[in-house]
């Protein structure tokens, strides 16, 4: 079996108790439900649909990226693959094992860097690593040697004997990375591992990940940084609202990005009315409204800006902000999801 990860029709619906309470409070009126602006997720009576029939396939030894805006379902996907979230339906395999049928054996083969650091606060930094290794059956002396090496690599050696409460956010994040590697897992999951790291630590982590990749490990990483995904990942999946929108190499994804420069014009009100006049501007191949944002794809770069401002004014809108994005993963992302990553 050459698939490190395989999912089929994966679905996750979270029960939403807080919603029930919310409805309970507002149940006196029988009016329409409140409109939540930019509500990115679908909610049903049963709860929040976090994943909606997601199909993924990651090859053994592949460096795979998951890109998506907040609430897209990235953490949920990783949660299912790391046996921490029970799928509502569908199938997920990791290292050839079904995550629901053989969770213990899956855990034996994976390392996980969570989105939010969750070190064992009753233990010191070094103990966190040594005990985690012990949970994977690694004898003490070997674990300790390996832990010391990892701490050095992640540049937190001076914190080895400190209580984890004494570590800064970025240092805790590094500890999480060390913990995910201590038992030398076959498949490594990293959920936004570089958030909160300074540029140096971020590049150090990139080196570590490249090295692990070179040694044949499978790596699955979520990130909000396009540059990171572009530089590291062999293939990238773009997900939004629990669905897979695209999955390909960064090169091919970039090539499929809509032509021209993306001009994002922010207006002082709904942008819908400005779409038609914007489409009439010379060089604009495509225009869409996203709330107060008017997204226009221009083949002549920034030259279209004055005409777009005029177009907005012609429908009584005032421009409050303008942003240009060259054709890139980012413009593809925005064209697919209508939203920016950060």
């Amino acid at each position: 079996m050459s698939d490190a990860i395989f999912t089929e029709n994966l679905r996750k619906v979270y029960a939403a108790p807080s919603m029930r309470r919310f409805r309970g409070l507002s149940s006196r009126g029988s009016g329409p439900p409140p409109i939540v602006p930019f509500a990115p997720v679908r909610t049903t009576d049963k709860g929040v649909v976090a994943l909606d029939t997601l199909d993924l396939r990651v090859r053994e030894g592949e460096f795979f990226g998951l890109l998506g805006p907040n609430g897209a379902g990235k953490t949920t996907t990783i949660g299912i693959l790391t046996t921490r979230v029970t799928p509502t339906s569908g199938r997920a395999m990791v290292a050839g094992l079904d995550v629901t049928a053989a969770p213990d054996r899956v855990r034996q083969r994976i390392g996980v860097v969570p989105q939010r650091p969750n070190p064992d606060r009753s233990l010191s930094t070094l103990e966190n690593l040594v005990f985690h290794a012990a949970y994977f059956g690694i004898p003490l002396d070997r674990a300790e040697q390996h832990a010391v090496d990892l701490l050095k690599r992640l540049d937190i050696t001076d914190k080895a004997d400190a209580r984890v409460d004494a570590l800064s956010g970025g240092q805790q994040q590094r500890l999480m990375i060390a913990r995910a590697l201590i038992h030398e897992p076959q498949v490594i999951f990293l959920d936004e591992p570089t958030v909160g790291l300074d540029p140096q630590a971020r590049h150090d982590l990139w080196e570590i990940l490249r090295d692990l990749h070179a040694h044949g490990r499978t790596i699955v990483m979520t990130t909000h940084y396009m540059e990171e995904a572009d530089q590291l990942c062999e293939r990238i999946a773009i997900v939004d609202r629990g669905r897979l929108l695209a999955c390909d190499t960064p090169e091919r994804l970039k090539a499929s990005a809509p032509g021209g420069t993306l001009v994002e014009v922010t207006l002082d009100g709904e942008a819908e009315a400005a779409v038609t006049p914007a489409l009439a501007v010379a060089g604009v191949t495509r225009a869409e409204a996203h709330g107060t944002g008017l997204h226009a794809y221009s083949e002549r770069g920034g030259e279209a800006i004055p005409a777009l401002i005029t177009a907005a004014q012609s429908v009584g809108r005032v421009v409050t902000n303008i942003h240009l994005t060259r054709p890139s993963l980012e413009s593809l992302f925005i064209s697919m999801t209508g939203r920016k990553l950060d």
Binding site: Y14, R84, R107, D120, L123, Y135, F136
Partner: protein, 257 residues
């Protein structure tokens, strides 16, 4: 890589933490019993408010209270934190063993801490109270067995509590569950004494502490009136099983989303 070796590693982790927190552990678990011993086992008999024989009824009950507090707290308190905002337990949930074993390890380690507390309090009690009529120590193995069984009941109860409440409810839990349990647990008076108040005599039977205290009387002061040992032990086994089942369900529910 066997589940037993992972289980052992989890136990070693708890031992490491317990050793580091030993002073606060001791204060937390033996303070209350020791204060009780001083007032009811030393001061009141000397003042003549209670009969000298009262210490014989009190001692086994105090031991039961010590192991109760210790095992409930050493499971419930860290677990509330473990499942709190930071979800510290996650690193153990990633261990390659069934999740239920992680919970069972917590119960085992909590029960061992209960035994430890009982072993610390017994000599202190004997020291403060002076000679205790009817104390029969040759049954040490039996007493230890009762202690272990009783600690298992309360460690399992700690699992139920630890998975059911949130950090903000800890104080409430002690006022609503633990305090009444201690007062109506036949720890400070023998169950047979309740013959005088039949409504209480049968009402308190839902309280697990009753069986631990009575079994402890059966083991430490066998010549004094107490519930038949086998009845108390059977009840403890049944209650352990019940709490463990509920606690395991709660643990799995809290661990998986």
């Amino acid at each position: 890589m066997s589940p037993a070796s992972v289980f052992w590693a989890l136990l070693r982790r708890d031992a490491r933490v317990a050793r580091r927190e030993l002073p606060s552990f001791l204060v937390r678990t033996i303070m209350q019993p020791v204060l009780f011993i001083i007032v009811f086992g030393y001061l009141l008999p000397r003042m003549g408010f209670v009969q000298a024989g009262y210490t014989s009824a009190l001692l086994p009950g105090i031991i039961a209270v010590s192991l109760t507090l210790s095992s409930v707290q050493s499971v419930a308190l860290p677990m509330v934190q473990d499942f709190g905002f930071t979800r510290e337990i996650e690193d153990r949930l990633l261990a390659p063993i069934p999740i239920r074993l992680v919970a069972i390890e917590k119960v085992v380690s909590g029960a061992l801490q209960g035994v430890l507390a009982a072993c610390v309090v017994l000599p202190i009690a004997r020291l403060i109270m002076g000679p205790i009529a009817g104390l029969h120590l040759p049954n040490a193995a039996l007493a230890l067995g009762v202690t272990l069984l009783g600690s298992t009941v309360f460690a399992s109860l700690g699992l139920v509590i630890g998975t059911a409440i949130s950090a903000t409810q800890i104080g409430l839990m002690f006022s609503i569950i633990v305090a009444p349990m201690l007062m109506f647990g036949c720890a400070y008076y023998p169950w047979r004494g309740l013959d005088a108040v039949p409504a209480f005599k049968y009402g308190v039977l839902i309280n697990p502490l009753v069986y631990v205290a009575e079994a402890m009387r059966g083991a430490l002061t066998p010549s004094l009136p107490h519930m038949p040992l086998w009845v108390a032990c059977a009840a403890m086994v049944a209650m352990s099983a019940l709490f463990l089942a509920i606690g395991l369900r709660g643990f799995v529910r809290r661990s998986m989303s």
